[in-house]
Amino acid sequence: MNRVTAPRRNLLAYRPVAAVARSRFFPASLQWVTTLVFVVIIWQLVLGPVAAHDNLGTALTWVLWWPLIPILFVAVGRFWCAVCPFGWLSDQVQKLVGVGRPVPAFLKRYGIWIIDASFIGITWADHVWGIVESPWGSGVLLLLMATAVVATAALFQRRAFCRYVCFIGGLAGNYSRAGMVELRADADVCATCTSRAACFNGTEATPPCPLFEFPRTMESSANCTLCASCIKSCPNGAITLSVRPPTRELWFVRSPKVSESFLAAAIMGIVLVQNVTMLGIWTDTLAWIESLSGTTSYALSYTIAFVVAISAPVVLLLAASRAAVRLTGGSTRESFARFGYALIPIDIAAHIAHNLFHLLAEGKSVYTTAVGVFGVESGGGSAALVGSDTIHVLQYLLIALGLAASIYTAHRIARSREATSTSPRIVGARRLVLAPYATLIVGVAALNLWLFALPMSHRM
């Protein structure tokens, strides 16, 4: 048995928490709020000020929401997905015209790869076409996503888009595994259940699980939005909600997937390339690529840098896996899939650290653009909430925390692998198998620390 089953306090035992979770206004009331804000954002992006630094939509999306989202995933898992305006849109379309076809097998099978590809594609497009810096570009991106939501909701059951297509959903899934909140079902109570899986299918009063999860067998928080539908529909009170140490789920992944480990490595590459393009060294890097490739096309030069940055962590993870396999045996594919999850904590740390700069160095722009909507001039001055030294210290602390969490996660994965293996080469070789992955994680952390030490340009 891989899972540690130490008893944890069920938050639903607290009456206020249970009352909120069972309320029919939860999470709908929050969803209405986010949808209203989303409408304002779209209006601003499409019809508001042309300059990003004057646009409330840009400030709310890229200075406030985007930096906060990875922090939210760690704190409360995929709860954002329960209140996401796209989820609301999906529900409304289904009520109105939903055909309710089953999700196609190819989407179920390759959905995570579609997510990986769309995440990489959107990041590439962002830089080449300047989506973040252009309110209109950001607006078009959101409208494209809205169209995809409308199409999938009209055709397929539940929130097929959120589960199998949304690139933020893929990111959310990976990060939420390291999250601190866990919803599970009590297997003993479920064994006596006669409700025909009300938690999965819903009841007349409660919708089914939007992300097709069956709490009885659910072992991961990757696809749980904490929407509380199962809490409401379970007639036996079998659902528990508990707080767990961050990264704990990553230590015991029973069926690791190459696609999820690939995403973890690719995210590291994306964060690195995003960092580099905002630094002074980007100009030199670009000149160097141009001299090598003999082209002056920015898009081509960036594509080369992008492909190298995305591939490097994947190739290095593969190399570490091969080294580990040579030392202790096993399969490279299995090692890649299993130990790729150890990159998630350092991914999250680097992602938050990068976006912390935008949040803290440009945070005031949310206020200035908001009052600007009402024609109030807030005057010039810095948009920073804190000084750059403070931001640097916080970034270093985050990377140090991510480094420690990643190394510890790799150690726990190695321990868990050792405990379940019968191979004599794996048993007793925990430190040996850990060495290549620890080297990779330390290298990634060192590179991030160096990049954060350099002055970065603003989004707004």
Partner: protein, 122 residues
Amino acid sequence: MQTRTLIPLTAALVALALVPVTTAATGHGNHSVPAVSSGVTTASGARGMAEMPGMEGMSGMDSGAAQERQHSSRGTEAAGALKSHAIVLSSFAGVNALVLISAFALRRRDRRRRLHAERGAV
């Protein structure tokens, strides 16, 4: 109930698809016009002849004609951008309306078939 909701929604989407085109034609609503570059920036950072070092005295020579040309060029570019934005917004509204109408038709067909099958079974 659903038909009653679908009709105004589709009408709204179709209206949304048409309004930006009309707006582009009349020239209103130019909030969405992207910033037009004011010209080439030189190596010294000057944005035109008047700002170039040593060329200050030359600024009066052609400023009137140049401004007129620039205004006219800006106007053309702005109208072009507005039109392209309007086309993009119309396309989004159109595609979404089409998806909704198709899904609605599919749902009705499925229901009719189901009812027919149930009656046949009875």
